[in-house]
Symmetry: C2
Subunit: 108 residues, 2 copies
DNA sequence: CAGTATCCAATGCGATACTG
DNA sequence: CAGTATCGCATTGGATACTG
């Protein structure tokens, strides 16, 4: 991050930056997911980008990464308390998008 | 836009894309602003980028652009009804950012 | 399964200068 | 005042192949 924000919205957007973090947050909202499950949940994302986004979100304290030592490997991602609070704050935005899907998709 | 969204949040984020649209929306929330006023309100943005973002938001139906024929030129930007509805949906996110400013700024 | 490693393309963004 | 025109770098994202 390393910047100063002019308002809360500014800061929130910086944390949510990029095309995918919102979706990842949303997908983890229901409960923990393994890497592969998450990749399927966030349709269209590449492995590389998913990892990058997850690492950033871990770094921001939004996501917790838990490694279960076993074969085959199992890694679970979940929201932290902080992540859940952001998730809740995003809910109205999600509803807005839901309500206006038609209109948004019609934008040239 | 020209894509299909997997959920409302996805769609909303597509509309809000980029680093500045949230701030512009927020700045116009209080009422109409002229180009120059807006440029000062959204501190740090370049003229070029501000125009680009405004055009996109006009195109999305979020912002209305009104030209007053006079010398010197006067152009006012305001939120449409659609823009105001999005603004309202973003409010909780703005509050979240406000409440967590310290923490967000501390992210490495 | 859960990642890394490369490489490449797109585009976002910033700075600056100029104009009706 | 309200834009346009250029230029160029930095970041982001995508495709694919490989590994512990």
């Amino acid at each position: 991050m390393k910047r100063t924000y002019t308002c809360g919205l500014d800061a929130a957007i910086a944390v949510m930056g990029g095309k995918w973090k919102g979706l990842i947050l949303f997908s983890l909202g229901e409960g923990p997911l393994r890497f592969g499950e998450l990749r399927r949940a966030v349709a269209g994302i590449s492995e590389r980008v998913l990892i990058l986004q997850l690492r950033e979100m871990e770094n921001s304290g939004l996501v917790h990464r838990e490694v279960h030592q076993q074969v085959p490997p199992k890694v679970e991602y979940s929201l932290t308390e902080f992540g859940r609070s952001l998730n809740a704050a995003m809910a109205p935005l999600g509803e807005w998008g839901e309500d206006n899907l038609q209109r948004i998709e019609a934008i040239p």
